[in-house]
Symmetry: C2
Subunit: 458 residues, 2 copies
Amino acid sequence: MSIQKPSLPKGTRDFGPSQMAKRNFILDTIKDTFKLFGFQQLETPSMENLSTLTGKYGDEGDQLLYKILNSGDFLKNVKEEHLQEGVSAVLPLLAEKGLRYDLTVPFARYVVMNRNDITFPFKRFQIQPVWRADRPQKGRYREFYQCDADVVGTDSLICELEIILMIKRVFAKLGLTDYSIKLNNRKILTGLSEVIGESGREGELCVAIDKLDKIGWEKVQEELSQRGFSSASIEKLSPIIQLNQNNLSKLEFLKSFLASSETGLKGIAELEEVFGLLETYGENQSNIDFDVVLARGLSYYTGAIFEVKVNNVSIGSVSGGGRYDNLTGVFGLEGVSGVGFSFGVDRLYDVMEELGLFPESNMDRTKVLISYFDEKGYAYGLMVLSKLRGAGISSELYPDQTKMKKQITYADKKDIPFVLVLGDNEISERKVSLKDLKTGIQELMDLSTAVEKLKQSL
Amino acid sequence: MSIQKPSLPKGTRDFGPSQMAKRNFILDTIKDTFKLFGFQQLETPSMENLSTLTGKYGDEGDQLLYKILNSGDFLKNVKEEHLQEGVSAVLPLLAEKGLRYDLTVPFARYVVMNRNDITFPFKRFQIQPVWRADRPQKGRYREFYQCDADVVGTDSLICELEIILMIKRVFAKLGLTDYSIKLNNRKILTGLSEVIGESGREGELCVAIDKLDKIGWEKVQEELSQRGFSSASIEKLSPIIQLNQNNLSKLEFLKSFLASSETGLKGIAELEEVFGLLETYGENQSNIDFDVVLARGLSYYTGAIFEVKVNNVSIGSVSGGGRYDNLTGVFGLEGVSGVGFSFGVDRLYDVMEELGLFPESNMDRTKVLISYFDEKGYAYGLMVLSKLRGAGISSELYPDQTKMKKQITYADKKDIPFVLVLGDNEISERKVSLKDLKTGIQELMDLSTAVEKLKQSL
């Protein structure tokens, strides 16, 4: 075997101990919240048949799917003429499986395959990596985690309420305060296109107004005009774009603005019901922002649309979702309505780093290192180690007999906050010296006292 | 889009809610134990460069690697003449990346790439899926989890001690009692081949005696004879094969048996030291079985060899590992000694199922369902829900107004143990009725009393 300098595939990352501790802090917070709300975990395989994945994410998505080369003689069915026909002719001969692109399509597949065993309404969450052959860039990776929660089999708006509540709980636990849960409803967008006289064109309308944040109202008007929206229609849209009031005033304004659209009013009513449920639950509207121009892709959603943005950070959008009426139709099961959303863990991680919200110390660190001078200390240390672990305290004995300084350096580098020093004095008195590496204070005490002190500082 | 009947790739599985609860129970137990012992988590990407993976697992392993088709125009470099040369000529043109085959090679790559930032001795654990294009069969999957813990950068035998202690702790927490931690040392095997007069042939010796369990001593002798071991050598081996005593007696016997082999005696001394450390730690030798013929592949290990078998179940081997002297040599970093082991989660799962060791109820289940009759109950229920979740009780409000019977069925099917019934009486008295679905007993009480009762039953 030749010796190689190893490297990582582009767009992928290792997560070392301190990154893992931070990631786990985020993931555990999300998981706890999902469970508190009665969601149950699902995991699906990393590989799916390409027939399951292809055609679900548009042409661009199909390009971004990672395909797995068939095992064994993968060239078996490839003839020279296929080679001349090119990639699209050869692909089906070489690869039958692909890597998961998101968690939604595998979930839909699972629901269809297990429809007879599932108890509906089905509340599931799923936290797994997905893969996309995207061009790597800042904040965009080829392997990243998604954290999805969905409820299928009910159109109750309590599900929308619970999504808002879960987002609020997770953000509170993470220490994120300056953020907006942007909320809209597809029916309101439909209503808008109706009342401005461009019925059925909410798709185009939304593609344009989705860019409002980036390019401004002037440019959006130009684009709408180029798309053939009349200047009268665009003119009518103006007050909507400039809406800058609280949720209640916006709702009141839109009730009269959309008065002639049944669908639009239905959207308003749904939104009002969600706000009402929120109040009944005893939660206020802080951080919730009714955003009439929020569209998020749109083709998929049929009711509520969510997006969460953290303010004053470089990549703000960390979560999104909405209601869909036909998740499983593509696999032959019609009429399964659902609503779901997804946390972007990698983005939450970056946001937390940018805002300095992670605790300074590694949260998964070892609590205490046992250090010693000689063979006698090593033996005494083993007994001490046994007692510490028995008390549930994460602890280590330095494995090699070496200088005290080296042992302390090890503790420092591993961010271990306490050291138990075992010298002749400690051993003969059957005691321990507990040293706090931050303050430098060292105290002689009974082992049981040290155990109590370490437990309290957990 | 055409409608398809979806299916899963062969050898892969979905894990639904009740399976996930059981899997998490095992994984959390292992994770807690690793952390208690000062191991820190690492995650590496699912995809590695094929140059990192190829040649590390033997020819058969290379065959079993899943390769990922290059994105974009993957045929770009494939000419007709390559097609004629076949798979081995085309593969490097089609695929640059593969899926992780185990956790050891990515760990070695990580250590080499991060050697300057790692604090040695480095105690890492890693829990991630691996993929192998193996023929699927009972207990063998194409995607499965490995749980590895390794210490690199020290040859202290305290690491061997800790592996034994971690296995014992995990098994105790899982409720597994009837098992053996089989323990051997590569140096003893080397010594054996020396003293029977077949120096340097411990590889062949072990391939043969590895089969002892399956084919018996008679057949092993035949195989050794066919491999050219002299009958005198085979004869000398006989007392070793028939050793059936406690660890101490075996060690005593081998001390004289291996008296002429320096290496063999070194192996015995290492084993004795591990047993001594165990005693100093205050742990007994129960479930630990010195097994002179344990070999486990061998080419890799240089010191201790471990294997854990659960007795009286169909697939007993659930964990294994050992010490190696040169983990990272293949990536250009020499002299990194380490010792590690791996839990087979899928096998532990099967063993626990077979022995009926999982709790009867889903451990991740929702604790209580709030059920109600009408709009008033729904509103009151939302307030109750808010209080329950505030107290950390996993709870749900049935999302649709429907018959009580349907709500109870939902709770039953989701294995939710309690229902809070909210009727007119409860609402007007601002109380709740707590129903235990197992006993059928229903009691009217204050919400705060119900919260306390539910918390106690957690």
